[in-house]
């Protein structure tokens, strides 16, 4: 039995919403070499800032380098040009205190629900029984108490998302990177998940970079919406969403006039991009 980690702070390596959770993306460019030997610029000169504890959505047409941007922030990839700094420190290698959520559940099918959720603390070297206690607490928070021993394939899509959320948040990350996390869910489940995500986010207040195709989702959840253009991906517009928090019912908020006003503005900016990207892909296909 180790005594190095006091129970309450286990996993939370980083403090509250101070500057540690600030994300600065400056002049970020990422090029890839295609198998044919040509260079392909996924994103070009992307600059944006996420304030500590801010919920920032990135919206853009398919293939505009949204996921590439996230990969640079997490430190899984190295930028070709420019840099990302998190909490004032330049990202070089894996960024500490980051969690990822993907569109696929990214759960370990061979681990039980409990085993999946306790992965985070276990990887940080938390003693096993403390990790179990923490994981049980998180399962309770996402409403999955009693499902500890199930395997992912025995759960519904929404329940799997909840497990993934608990697994992503258990280490109390300062930054949460979400790559279309609710993209594959049906409309009703999606709304429920959005509400639960907002609730958990209000509690922990990590900075969030949230990729989505769904403009409504972006406006409902975020403080800031970034519009990206495609090939190469660059930032076109940034909108601040001044809807009051807590947002409460994510279904209701869609009918408010301010929501529709913002949604209309953002769609006007996005529409050209989507059309252009579509025409380009149609031209390639022809």
């Amino acid at each position: 039995m180790g005594t190095r980690v006091p129970p309450d702070t286990s996993g939370s390596a980083i403090g509250d919403t101070d500057d540690a959770a600030r994300i600065d993306i400056v002049g970020l460019t990422k090029r890839y070499l295609t198998p044919k030997g040509e260079t392909f610029t996924a994103i070009h000169d992307v600059s944006l800032t996420v304030e500590p504890g801010q919920f920032c959505a990135i919206v853009g047409p398919t293939g505009c380098g949204k996921s590439t941007t996230l990969a640079q922030v997490s430190g899984l990839e190295h930028p070709s040009d420019g840099f990302v700094s998190v909490g004032g420190q330049r990202v070089d290698g894996i960024t500490k205190g980051v969690s990822y959520m993907f569109q696929s559940d990214s759960l370990f099918p061979w681990k039980t629900v409990l085993g999946n959720v306790m992965m985070g603390p276990v990887l940080l070297g938390t003693p096993k029984n403390q990790a179990i206690k923490l994981a049980l607490d998180w399962l309770r928070r996402v409403g999955l108490a009693g499902f500890e021993d199930r395997y992912p394939h025995q759960l519904s899509g929404g329940m799997r998302k909840r497990v993934a959320m608990a697994a992503a948040l258990i280490n109390r990350p300062r930054i949460l990177l979400m790559d279309e996390p609710f993209g594959a869910l049906d409309v009703q489940t999606k709304a429920i998940m959005q509400a639960e995500l907002l609730q958990l986010w209000e509690d922990l207040r990590p900075s969030v970079l949230f990729i989505t195709h769904d403009l409504d989702e972006a406006v409902t959840l975020s403080d800031r919406v970034v519009i990206m253009t495609s090939s190469p991906g660059t930032v076109k517009d940034v909108f601040d969403i001044d809807l009051p928090r807590p947002r409460g019912d994510v279904q209701e908020i869609r009918h408010e006039s301010r929501f529709q006003e913002l949604q209309g503005q953002i769609w006007a900016s996005l529409k050209d991009e989507v059309t252009r990207a579509y025409e380009r892909s149609a031209a390639v296909a022809a």
């Binding site: 990969a71 997490s74 430190g75 899984l76 894996i94 960024t95 500490k96 980051v98 969690s99 990822y100 993907f102 696929s104 990214s106 370990f108 099918p109 061979w110 681990k111 039980t112 992965m119 985070g120 990887l123 940080l124 395997y151 394939h153 025995q154 280490n171 990177l177």
Partner: protein
């Protein structure tokens, strides 16, 4: 809903269940009947054709003669000692070869699967090794290491290695990259990635290869024994071949077959334990 309708509902539910069960057991009985029929036709036909003389039992043996030769093997033993000793030798060789080949195959598969550079360097050589008829190595092993246990284990292990290696390698390659990204972001070391992601994920592929791999282990041990041995089932087979005695060859096949079925059963048990997280296949529930 009143109490009466609840009772009615549960009653008809029970009836449905009973009907379903009856249909299932009827189907199972029918399947077994068919299986029995196949045995009767094949073995009976064999016996009949050879007794009538349409097929020469001198070359193709005869079920009753095979049975007699099995009885002789177990009651009077063989020229090289009791039959159990021969079975023990072959089993030991194939099991040791199986274990050795499996362990080395898994280690190589995982290392090469997760190291792009090593895999690129060694890839052509592995292809070459895989395309040569490895069974011929048996002759070399016998010349180099004599007639004892070791060359048999080695040949069995070589055959097993490739079956397991390719599956482990492929299994590692197929790991969901999102899962790896996920744990890397959480701060996992390469060793932790292997332990929590790569190995469990590749396990499906590895276990699937063990079924065929065990067959290879038996083949390796038997062939090496036929090539040169002082004891073992393979030796009995090659002696029987020299005496123009197909019945004893078939008897040996039966013995090995029984042993392989047992081993197959154990591997299936292992599969159930290790892969208990897998969803049950659809065929396990049937429409009624």
């Amino acid at each position: 809903m009143s109490a009466a309708t609840v009772q009615l509902a549960s009653q008809s539910e029970l009836e449905l269940q009973a009907t379903g069960r009856r249909a299932r057991s009827r189907r199972a009985a029918f399947v077994w009947l068919g299986r029995l029929l196949v045995v009767v036709v094949v073995i009976g036909g064999w016996q009949w054709f050879t007794s009538v003389g349409w097929v020469d039992k001198f070359f193709y043996g005869q079920p009753t003669a095979i049975w007699d030769s099995l009885v002789t093997l177990f009651t009077q033993g063989t020229a090289f000692g009791p039959i159990w000793e021969q079975i023990g030798v072959t089993v030991e060789e194939s099991v040791l070869g199986f274990l050795l080949g499996t362990v080395v195959g898994i280690v190589f598969g995982i290392v090469l699967g997760s190291n792009r550079y090593l895999s690129d360097v060694l890839n052509p050589y592995i292809k070459v090794l895989n395309s040569i008829p490895r069974i011929v190595l048996g002759s070399i092993f016998i010349v180099a290491f004599g007639l004892g246990l070791f060359p048999k284990v080695l040949l069995a292990a070589v055959l097993v290695f490739f079956a397991v290696f390719f599956n482990a390698y492929q299994g590692v390659r197929e790991v969901d990259q999102n899962l790896i990204a996920n744990v890397r972001v959480l701060g996992a070391s390469p060793l932790q990635i292997a332990r929590h992601v790569t190995i469990p994920s590749a396990m499906t592929w590895i276990i699937a290869s063990l079924h065929t791999a065990f067959g290879f282990a038996i083949i390796g041990a038997l062939v090496a024994e036929i090539l040169g041995a002082l004891q073992g089932i393979g030796l009995i087979i090659s002696q029987a071949q020299g005496r123009l005695d197909p019945d004893t060859v078939f008897a040996c096949m039966v013995i090995i077959g029984v042993f392989t079925l047992g081993a197959e059963y154990l591997i299936t048990l292992l599969e159930k334990v290790v892969l208990k997280w897998r969803p049950p296949s659809r065929s396990e529930s049937q429409p009624i």
